[in-house]
Every structure is written in C-alpha cells, then in structure tokens.
C-alpha cells in the first residue's frame, strides 16, 4: 500500500517545515525590525514607527518610487500585449517557419543571467542611438528592456490558460461564419481574462523589482527604486531601508498574491492543478 511506501512521512514533513522557515524567516525579520526604534538595526530597543516617518520625507526615495511605478505600469501593459500574442502564437500555431527559434527567444529570458541581458540591451540602445538618434537612455529604454524579459512570464500564463480552453468553441464560431480576428476578440480573449489579469500583475511586480537590467539601460535622470535601495544597502544595514522594504514587500506581495491566487483558486476545483496553475513561473512547455 501507499501508506507503507510513505513511511518516511515524518522526514518529509520536517524538510517541508525547515524549507518554509528558511524561505520566510528573512522576510519576517525585515518586517519585525522595521519597527525597531534603535539605529542598530538588529538590536531591539522598542517599538517605533519613526523610520516610516523618515521614509515619507525622503525626496530621493519618493522620486525613485514614482519612476518605478511609471515604468512598471507601462512595461506590464506592453508585456501583456506582446505576451498575449506570443502565448497565442505558441499554443495555436503549431507549425511555422522559425517556430523553434521564436519559442527559444521568448523563453530564454526566463533563465538568462540578467547581467547578460542588461549589457547586451544597453549596447543595442547605444548603437541604435548612434545610427538613428533613438532611443535616449531614460524611462523608455527601461520600459523596452522590461517588456522583453517579462513577456516570457505573461506568455507562460497565457499558454497554460489557452491549453485549458476548448478549441471547439472557437471552431463553432468559425463554422458560423465569424472571421478569425472576430473569434479572437469575441471568444478567445474574454476566456483568457483571468490569465491576462495575473499576467499583467506578475509583469508589474517583476518590473518593480528589477535591478541589474535596469541599472544597465537607465539614464542619468531615471533612477528606479531598486537602484536607490541597492546603493544604500551596499553600505550595510539601514533602518530606513527596512521600513521601505516592508512597504515594498507588502505592496508586491499583495499585487502578485492577487495574480497568483487567482490561478491557485481556480485550480482547486479542477483535476489538472498544474496545467492550470497560472502562478508557476517556470515554463513547462517550450
């Protein structure tokens, strides 16, 4: 019986708890110590919200946060459009010339070291600016770079949703005389809405979080929030950063939590939980 085969359950449970403590302890410690009054970040003195007060008066951080939000909204919207198309192409167009290369190019940013994507895109932008006088290095180059790497994530979510949609619904519409474009906008797109919502939210939080690629492609006037955080934490612990980190964790956690839970709750009812799980950030198919 399976019960016998799982006699090691106690060990599994132990590893599970250990992994969860490992994954969550750092996040919790940041949140707890952001309310520490002491300048010495890890020595608890007493509860205080003074670092949050300092935070909302920090011009540099507020400016960077505004730029980051702008970039995140624009790039998530761009990634949603490109990602929906690529997801649709990769699931519905099973054969066309260069398909393998296409899927490779779309999915490679999921694993490609960020430092490589950062330097290569920067050199492209510099070369293009020399040749065509466009683009200048500022918010627009960051947005282009972010769209390029987060499209893969949107595409994965869209693909797993599309695989769950019955093609016969689309066929029926076509049999009744609807043109492919009409079918896409009236049938396929509405059925994809949950995936589109989580795709946008995931792209948004990825963009808000990115440091390495952004550091390469940004210009002098476009310092994002992770860049400010990084320049401060390189010098060591900083209680104000703990407060900022707590705000960012709660904000991104909320945003991606909504995106991910939509997928998780849906799959609760279905038999095939994995195929339907929008939140899995790893490409299961090519």
């Amino acid at each position: 019986m399976i019960g016998k085969a799982l006699r090691g359950r106690g060990f599994l449970r132990f590893m599970m708890v250990l992994a969860m403590v490992f994954l969550y302890a750092p996040i919790i410690s940041i949140i707890v110590y952001s309310f520490n009054e002491s300048q010495l970040v890890t020595v608890w003195s007493r509860f205080s919200t003074k670092w949050y007060g300092a935070l909302i008066q920090d011009e540099q951080i507020l400016r960077a946060a505004k730029i980051s939000l702008e970039v995140a909204i624009m790039s998530a919207t761009g990634a949603l459009m490109v990602g929906t198309l690529t997801g649709y192409i990769l699931t519905r167009f099973t054969r066309f010339k260069g398909r393998t290369m296409f899927s490779g190019m779309v999915m490679a940013p999921l694993v490609m070291p960020e430092i490589i994507m950062g330097i290569s895109m920067l050199l492209l932008f510099v070369g293009m600016e020399q040749l065509f006088g466009w683009p200048h290095r500022d918010v627009q180059t960051i947005v282009i770079a972010h769209i390029t790497f987060s499209t893969a994530f949107v595409s994965v979510v869209v693909q797993s949703r599309l695989q769950g949609i019955d093609v016969s619904v689309e066929e029926a519409a076509m049999d009744l005389g609807a043109r492919p474009v009409t079918v896409f906008f009236l049938i396929t797109l509405p059925l994809m809405i949950p995936a589109l919502v989580s795709g946008w939210l995931l792209a948004f939080s990825l963009s808000l979080d990115d440091l390495v690629i952004t550091a390469f492609v940004s210009g002098p006037g476009s310092t994002t929030l992770p860049m400010v955080i990084f320049s401060k934490v390189r010098l060591g612990l900083n209680p104000e950063i703990n407060a900022l980190a707590t705000v960012v964790i709660l904000f991104i956690g909320l945003v991606s939590g909504i995106g991910a839970f939509k997928g998780a709750f849906k799959s609760l009812g279905s038999k095939d939980a994995v195929a339907d799980d929008n939140a899995v950030p790893v490409p299961v198919t090519n």
């Binding site: 969860m20 410690s29 070291p113 490589i116 934490v233």
Partner: protein, 305 residues
C-alpha cells in the same frame, strides 16, 4: 485536439497568420537576438575615451573604402589574466554547488508536496512561490541582518550560551551559498513537483506487492522516473546562478570574484565596455550547452503533456 488545432490553422488565411507572428517575432529579433550580435561586435573593439567608449569596428577610408578593424586582444587578455579564469571557476563552483544543495533540499520538499492531500497542494505550492514574487533584492538584503556579527543568529546563539564569540558567517563563501540556495530554491522545487505529481503511484504499489522496501522502491522507481525533473530543475538553478551579481556583491566578501561582479566592475567601474562585452560573450558561450539541454528537455516534456 491536435487535429482541431491544425484545422484552425488552416482556416486562418496564411497572410494574416504571418502578420500576427511578425510583430512579436520582430520584437524579439531586435531586442533579444540582435543585442547579442552587438555584444560580439563590441567585444572585438578596443576601449577609447569617447562617447560611446569604444573604437568603431568599421571606418570609411579616404577613397571610400571600408576598413574593418577587428581586435581579438580582449579574448587573449581574459584568457591569460588569472583574475578572469578564477572568476569563471568560482562562478561555476557557486552555480554547481547551489544546484546540488537546492536539489538535496528541494527534492524532499517537492516530494512532500506531490504526495500530500490534493486539496492542500495548491496552498503548499503557493507558499513556495510567494517569496519568489516578493522583491529579490530585499530578500537577499535581509540575510545581512541575520548573518552579521551582531545579527540574529549570532545574538541568539550567544544568548543561549552555545557560543561565546560571534561566528564569522557573513561576507564569505558560506553566506554566498546561503543567499544563492535561498534565492533559487523555488526554481528547483517547481519543476520537480510538476514531475513527481504526474507519477503513477500504482508502480510503487506494485513494487511493494513484490516485496520491495519503500526506500528500495524509491531508488529503483521514483528516482529514475523523476530524472527529467531533476535535470530541468538543476538547469533552471545553474544557468541564472552562473551570472548572479546581487548575491555575491551583498553577501560576499570584498575579495569575491565572480563573472557577474567582474563584468559589472569592468563596465561601471573601469568603463571598459569592450572587455565587459568579452566577459559577456565568454559567459554566453559557456551557457549555450546548458540552455540547449534545457530547451530539449522542455520540448520533450511538452510533447508528453
């Protein structure tokens, strides 16, 4: 299902299909593939005090001739300077070590999730994924407070009297490993889970009926069947970990050399774009094999699904 998809493809007029594909295809050609060509081009150039800071590869001579100045010195340079060789070796070492440790932690966790009751699986998976979606930079930063001299671990161990002097566990290899394993653990658990979850449990029952002990059954059935998951997970950890920059910078010591930190310093510190590009090209060459292997495995998994 497959026939239906093919029918759908045929129903779409060829031309409009082409237009639908062309847009995203062009985007990735221009912003993903061409950049690699540009990196290769710059790696064959030399640094100059100019804007941009490298010598042009093509110049036009007085009589309208096109001159091509290719310079392989950067490659000779990084292959002869021990600093770069060391950086490569230590990056490979950290990435491979991280893959092995995440496998040892991630396998039991993935197995535990895959064999838990179906109704708690989505929640357990969510718990694994959630940290991935909270800020990477901040999660790495949090370890400084945990590992430093008067950090949480040292304070705790000293207060209960286990140690009398703080342990040196920050800014060395150990802390880099902690950060890497921590950051990349979800990448290992997810592919392993999706592999183990699909496994046919009647095989284990059969083994047990034939008298195999649970551990024996695990070794001769579960482990071989989960090999694709192990390979996929290891590659998903290894590939991005080779180029990691943030973790060695924040948690490593001042003498930490990895490909990521060397590339960054050449680029931002020395402003030597050609050498930084050469380092990037060498890293890409290193990763071509693992990337193709990953693509191959995922294509196979995709066919099965």
């Amino acid at each position: 299902m497959k026939a239906a998809t093919q029918l759908l493809c045929r129903l779409l007029p060829r031309q409009s299909r082409g237009w639908v594909i062309a847009g995203p295809y062009l985007w990735f050609l221009v912003f993903f593939l061409v950049p690699f060509v540009v990196v290769l081009k710059i790696s064959l150039s030399t640094a100059e005090v100019a804007i941009p800071p490298y010598a042009p590869l093509f110049t036009f001579g007085d009589e309208g001739t096109l001159n091509l100045a290719m310079h392989f010195g950067n490659f000779a340079y990084i292959f002869s300077d021990p600093q770069y060789i060391l950086a490569y070796l230590s990056s490979l070492h950290y990435a491979a070590g991280t893959a092995i440790i995440t496998l040892m932690i991630g396998y039991p966790v993935a197995y535990a999730i895959a064999t838990s009751k179906p109704n708690v699986r989505p929640m357990l998976l969510m718990l694994v994924i959630m940290p991935f979606w909270t800020s990477f930079l901040i999660r790495v930063y949090a370890w400084i407070g945990i590992l430093k001299q008067n950090g949480l671990i040292n304070n705790f161990l000293m207060s209960i009297g286990v140690i009398h002097e703080p342990l040196n566990i920050l800014n060395n290899q150990f802390s880099i490993y902690v950060g890497m394993v921590y950051a990349y653990l979800p990448f290992m658990i997810l592919p392993l889970y999706s592999n183990l979850e699909k496994m046919d449990h009647s095989l284990l029952e059969a083994a047990s009926d034939l008298g195999a002990k649970p551990f024996r059954a695990f070794l001769s059935i579960t482990l071989p069947l989960s090999l694709p998951g192990i390979v996929a997970g290891s590659l998903l950890v290894f590939i991005p970990a080779v180029g990691e920059y943030i973790i060695p910078t924040l948690l490593g010591g001042a003498d930490t050399l990895t490909i990521g930190t060397v590339l960054w310093n050449e680029f931002f510190g020395n402003r030597d774009w050609p050498v930084a590009s050469t380092v990037a090209v060498a890293l890409i060459v290193l990763l071509v094999g693992p990337l193709m292997l990953l693509q191959h495995y995922q294509a196979k998994e995709g066919e099965k699904a």
